[in-house]
Symmetry: C2
Protein backbone atom coordinates (compact mmCIF):
# COMPACT_ATOMS: atom_id res chain seq x y z
CA UNK A 1 0.00 0.00 0.00
CA UNK A 2 2.01 2.95 -1.29
CA UNK A 3 -0.70 5.61 -1.37
CA UNK A 4 -0.24 8.05 1.53
CA UNK A 5 -3.94 8.97 1.42
CA UNK A 6 -4.99 5.34 1.53
CA UNK A 7 -2.79 4.67 4.55
CA UNK A 8 -4.62 7.41 6.46
CA UNK A 9 -8.06 6.28 5.25
CA UNK A 10 -7.42 2.67 6.23
CA UNK A 11 -5.94 3.59 9.61
CA UNK A 12 -9.02 5.70 10.34
CA UNK A 13 -11.32 2.93 9.16
CA UNK A 14 -9.57 0.24 11.21
CA UNK A 15 -9.75 2.35 14.33
CA UNK A 16 -13.46 3.14 14.25
CA UNK A 17 -14.52 -0.31 13.11
CA UNK A 18 -12.52 -1.70 16.02
CA UNK A 19 -14.55 0.55 18.31
CA UNK A 20 -11.75 3.03 19.02
CA UNK A 21 -13.41 6.30 18.05
CA UNK A 22 -10.76 8.33 19.88
CA UNK A 23 -7.99 6.86 17.73
CA UNK A 24 -10.12 7.20 14.60
CA UNK A 25 -10.66 10.91 15.17
CA UNK A 26 -6.91 11.60 15.30
CA UNK A 27 -6.93 11.16 11.49
CA UNK A 28 -9.63 13.79 10.95
CA UNK A 29 -8.77 17.47 10.38
CA UNK A 30 -10.37 20.09 12.62
CA UNK A 31 -12.07 21.75 9.64
CA UNK A 32 -13.10 18.52 7.95
CA UNK A 33 -16.00 18.63 5.48
CA UNK A 34 -18.18 15.52 5.43
CA UNK A 35 -20.66 15.07 2.58
CA UNK A 36 -22.97 12.45 4.08
CA UNK A 37 -26.27 11.14 2.68
CA UNK A 38 -28.29 13.57 4.82
CA UNK A 39 -26.17 16.55 3.79
CA UNK A 40 -22.95 18.40 4.53
CA UNK A 41 -21.41 18.42 8.00
CA UNK A 42 -18.46 20.63 8.90
CA UNK A 43 -15.92 20.24 11.68
CA UNK A 44 -14.54 17.58 13.94
CA UNK A 45 -17.43 17.53 16.40
CA UNK A 46 -20.05 17.04 13.68
CA UNK A 47 -17.95 14.27 12.13
CA UNK A 48 -17.66 12.55 15.47
CA UNK A 49 -21.40 12.81 16.14
CA UNK A 50 -22.08 11.33 12.71
CA UNK A 51 -19.75 8.38 13.23
CA UNK A 52 -20.37 7.65 16.91
CA UNK A 53 -23.69 5.77 16.58
CA UNK A 54 -22.25 3.45 13.92
CA UNK A 55 -19.01 2.86 15.74
CA UNK A 56 -20.47 2.58 19.22
CA UNK A 57 -23.91 1.03 18.88
CA UNK A 58 -24.83 -0.24 15.42
CA UNK A 59 -21.69 -1.91 14.04
CA UNK A 60 -21.19 -5.63 14.53
CA UNK A 61 -18.38 -6.21 12.04
CA UNK A 62 -16.81 -4.73 8.94
CA UNK A 63 -15.09 -6.21 5.90
CA UNK A 64 -13.04 -4.18 3.41
CA UNK A 65 -14.15 -4.93 -0.16
CA UNK A 66 -11.80 -2.66 -2.11
CA UNK A 67 -9.32 0.09 -1.28
CA UNK A 68 -7.38 2.28 -3.68
CA UNK A 69 -5.62 5.59 -3.48
CA UNK A 70 -3.05 8.02 -4.76
CA UNK A 71 -1.12 10.89 -3.21
CA UNK A 72 -4.14 12.88 -1.98
CA UNK A 73 -7.23 10.76 -2.53
CA UNK A 74 -8.38 7.38 -1.24
CA UNK A 75 -11.45 5.45 -2.26
CA UNK A 76 -12.63 2.56 -0.12
CA UNK A 77 -15.66 0.32 -0.11
CA UNK A 78 -16.57 -2.00 2.72
CA UNK A 79 -19.47 -4.03 3.91
CA UNK A 80 -20.70 -3.87 7.46
CA UNK A 81 -22.92 -6.10 9.49
CA UNK A 82 -25.00 -3.83 11.70
CA UNK A 83 -27.84 -4.14 14.15
CA UNK A 84 -30.32 -2.77 11.57
CA UNK A 85 -28.99 -4.73 8.55
CA UNK A 86 -26.91 -7.87 7.96
CA UNK A 87 -25.28 -6.12 5.01
CA UNK A 88 -24.92 -2.35 5.05
CA UNK A 89 -22.13 -1.49 2.62
CA UNK A 90 -20.55 1.96 2.44
CA UNK A 91 -18.07 3.81 0.30
CA UNK A 92 -15.85 6.70 1.27
CA UNK A 93 -13.84 8.98 -0.97
CA UNK A 94 -11.44 10.90 1.24
CA UNK A 95 -9.07 13.75 0.55
CA UNK A 96 -6.00 13.88 2.77
CA UNK A 97 -3.83 16.90 3.56
CA UNK A 98 -0.90 16.87 5.99
CA UNK A 99 -1.82 13.41 7.19
CA UNK A 100 -5.43 14.23 8.05
CA UNK A 101 -8.73 13.69 6.29
CA UNK A 102 -9.99 17.12 5.18
CA UNK A 103 -12.93 15.92 3.08
CA UNK A 104 -15.01 12.77 2.94
CA UNK A 105 -17.79 11.89 0.54
CA UNK A 106 -19.53 9.12 2.47
CA UNK A 107 -22.14 6.98 0.70
CA UNK A 108 -24.46 4.41 2.21
CA UNK A 109 -28.12 3.53 1.93
CA UNK A 110 -30.05 5.17 4.77
CA UNK A 111 -33.15 3.03 4.26
CA UNK A 112 -32.36 0.17 6.71
CA UNK A 113 -31.21 2.66 9.35
CA UNK A 114 -34.37 4.77 9.00
CA UNK A 115 -36.56 1.66 9.17
CA UNK A 116 -34.71 0.60 12.32
CA UNK A 117 -35.18 4.02 13.88
CA UNK A 118 -38.87 4.04 13.04
CA UNK A 119 -39.19 0.55 14.51
CA UNK A 120 -37.56 1.70 17.74
CA UNK A 121 -39.82 4.77 17.90
CA UNK A 122 -42.79 2.48 17.34
CA UNK A 123 -41.71 0.23 20.20
CA UNK A 124 -41.66 3.27 22.47
CA UNK A 125 -45.33 4.16 22.05
CA UNK A 126 -46.83 0.69 22.24
Amino acid sequence: MTSPALQIAVAHHRAWTAGDLEAAMTYIADDVVLDAPAGRLVGLRAYREFLAPFAGQLLIRSEMLAAFGDEKTALIMYDTETVPARSAPAAECVTVRDGKIVHNRFIFDRVPFEEFRRGQAGDGVR
Copy 2:
Protein backbone atom coordinates in the same frame (compact mmCIF):
# COMPACT_ATOMS: atom_id res chain seq x y z
CA MET B 1 -5.62 4.58 -17.05
CA THR B 2 -3.80 1.25 -17.15
CA SER B 3 -6.29 -0.88 -15.22
CA PRO B 4 -8.17 -3.18 -17.63
CA ALA B 5 -11.07 -3.45 -15.17
CA LEU B 6 -11.31 0.33 -14.82
CA GLN B 7 -11.41 0.78 -18.59
CA ILE B 8 -14.47 -1.46 -18.75
CA ALA B 9 -16.13 0.17 -15.74
CA VAL B 10 -15.62 3.66 -17.13
CA ALA B 11 -16.78 2.71 -20.63
CA HIS B 12 -19.94 1.21 -19.14
CA HIS B 13 -20.46 4.28 -16.96
CA ARG B 14 -19.94 6.75 -19.81
CA ALA B 15 -22.41 4.88 -21.99
CA TRP B 16 -25.31 4.76 -19.57
CA THR B 17 -24.80 8.26 -18.21
CA ALA B 18 -24.87 9.47 -21.83
CA GLY B 19 -28.25 7.74 -22.17
CA ASP B 20 -26.98 4.85 -24.32
CA LEU B 21 -28.21 1.88 -22.34
CA GLU B 22 -27.70 -0.47 -25.30
CA ALA B 23 -23.99 0.34 -25.45
CA ALA B 24 -23.70 0.21 -21.67
CA MET B 25 -25.13 -3.31 -21.53
CA THR B 26 -22.47 -4.65 -23.91
CA TYR B 27 -20.03 -4.44 -20.98
CA ILE B 28 -22.21 -6.58 -18.71
CA ALA B 29 -21.84 -10.37 -18.57
CA ASP B 30 -24.92 -12.54 -19.16
CA ASP B 31 -24.61 -14.06 -15.68
CA VAL B 32 -23.79 -10.80 -13.90
CA VAL B 33 -24.47 -10.56 -10.17
CA LEU B 34 -25.55 -7.13 -8.95
CA ASP B 35 -25.58 -6.41 -5.24
CA ALA B 36 -27.81 -3.36 -5.11
CA PRO B 37 -29.22 -1.57 -2.05
CA ALA B 38 -32.52 -3.46 -2.30
CA GLY B 39 -30.80 -6.84 -2.63
CA ARG B 40 -29.13 -9.18 -5.11
CA LEU B 41 -30.13 -9.25 -8.76
CA VAL B 42 -28.84 -11.87 -11.19
CA GLY B 43 -28.58 -11.77 -14.96
CA LEU B 44 -28.47 -9.25 -17.74
CA ARG B 45 -32.19 -8.54 -17.84
CA ALA B 46 -32.41 -7.78 -14.13
CA TYR B 47 -29.35 -5.53 -14.40
CA ARG B 48 -30.91 -3.67 -17.29
CA GLU B 49 -34.23 -3.22 -15.47
CA PHE B 50 -32.34 -1.87 -12.46
CA LEU B 51 -30.37 0.66 -14.49
CA ALA B 52 -33.02 1.72 -17.03
CA PRO B 53 -35.01 4.14 -14.81
CA PHE B 54 -31.84 5.99 -13.80
CA ALA B 55 -30.41 6.12 -17.29
CA GLY B 56 -33.64 6.87 -19.10
CA GLN B 57 -35.77 8.99 -16.76
CA LEU B 58 -34.08 10.16 -13.58
CA LEU B 59 -30.54 11.16 -14.56
CA ILE B 60 -29.81 14.75 -15.47
CA ARG B 61 -26.01 14.66 -15.36
CA SER B 62 -23.13 12.74 -13.81
CA GLU B 63 -19.67 13.70 -12.62
CA MET B 64 -16.93 11.19 -11.84
CA LEU B 65 -15.40 11.90 -8.42
CA ALA B 66 -12.79 9.13 -8.22
CA ALA B 67 -11.91 6.06 -10.25
CA PHE B 68 -9.33 3.40 -9.46
CA GLY B 69 -8.71 -0.15 -10.51
CA ASP B 70 -6.38 -3.05 -10.97
CA GLU B 71 -6.37 -6.13 -13.20
CA LYS B 72 -9.77 -7.47 -12.14
CA THR B 73 -11.42 -4.87 -9.92
CA ALA B 74 -12.50 -1.28 -10.42
CA LEU B 75 -13.86 1.10 -7.82
CA ILE B 76 -15.59 4.28 -8.95
CA MET B 77 -17.51 7.01 -7.19
CA TYR B 78 -19.56 9.62 -8.96
CA ASP B 79 -22.15 12.20 -8.19
CA THR B 80 -25.33 12.50 -10.19
CA GLU B 81 -27.89 15.20 -10.50
CA THR B 82 -31.23 13.48 -10.80
CA VAL B 83 -34.89 14.45 -10.96
CA PRO B 84 -35.40 13.37 -7.31
CA ALA B 85 -32.18 14.89 -5.92
CA ARG B 86 -29.65 17.53 -6.95
CA SER B 87 -26.88 15.36 -5.55
CA ALA B 88 -27.30 11.59 -5.58
CA PRO B 89 -23.82 10.10 -5.40
CA ALA B 90 -23.11 6.43 -6.00
CA ALA B 91 -20.20 4.03 -5.77
CA GLU B 92 -19.64 0.86 -7.74
CA CYS B 93 -17.11 -1.87 -7.12
CA VAL B 94 -17.01 -4.04 -10.22
CA THR B 95 -15.27 -7.29 -10.98
CA VAL B 96 -14.35 -7.81 -14.62
CA ARG B 97 -13.73 -11.12 -16.40
CA ASP B 98 -13.00 -11.46 -20.12
CA GLY B 99 -13.84 -7.82 -20.70
CA LYS B 100 -17.27 -7.94 -19.06
CA ILE B 101 -18.58 -6.94 -15.66
CA VAL B 102 -19.47 -10.15 -13.80
CA HIS B 103 -20.17 -8.59 -10.39
CA ASN B 104 -21.10 -5.14 -9.19
CA ARG B 105 -21.56 -3.93 -5.65
CA PHE B 106 -23.60 -0.78 -6.22
CA ILE B 107 -24.12 1.65 -3.35
CA PHE B 108 -26.37 4.68 -3.23
CA ASP B 109 -28.83 6.18 -0.79
CA ARG B 110 -32.36 5.08 -1.70
CA VAL B 111 -34.01 7.71 0.51
CA PRO B 112 -34.43 10.52 -2.07
CA PHE B 113 -35.66 8.03 -4.68
CA GLU B 114 -38.20 6.50 -2.31
CA GLU B 115 -39.43 9.95 -1.28
CA PHE B 116 -39.80 10.87 -4.94
CA ARG B 117 -41.75 7.69 -5.67
CA ARG B 118 -44.03 8.25 -2.68
CA GLY B 119 -44.59 11.83 -3.87
CA GLN B 120 -45.56 10.60 -7.32
CA ALA B 121 -47.90 7.98 -5.84
CA GLY B 122 -49.49 10.74 -3.76
CA ASP B 123 -50.01 12.86 -6.86
CA GLY B 124 -51.77 9.95 -8.49
CA VAL B 125 -54.57 9.71 -5.95
CA ARG B 126 -55.33 13.39 -5.53
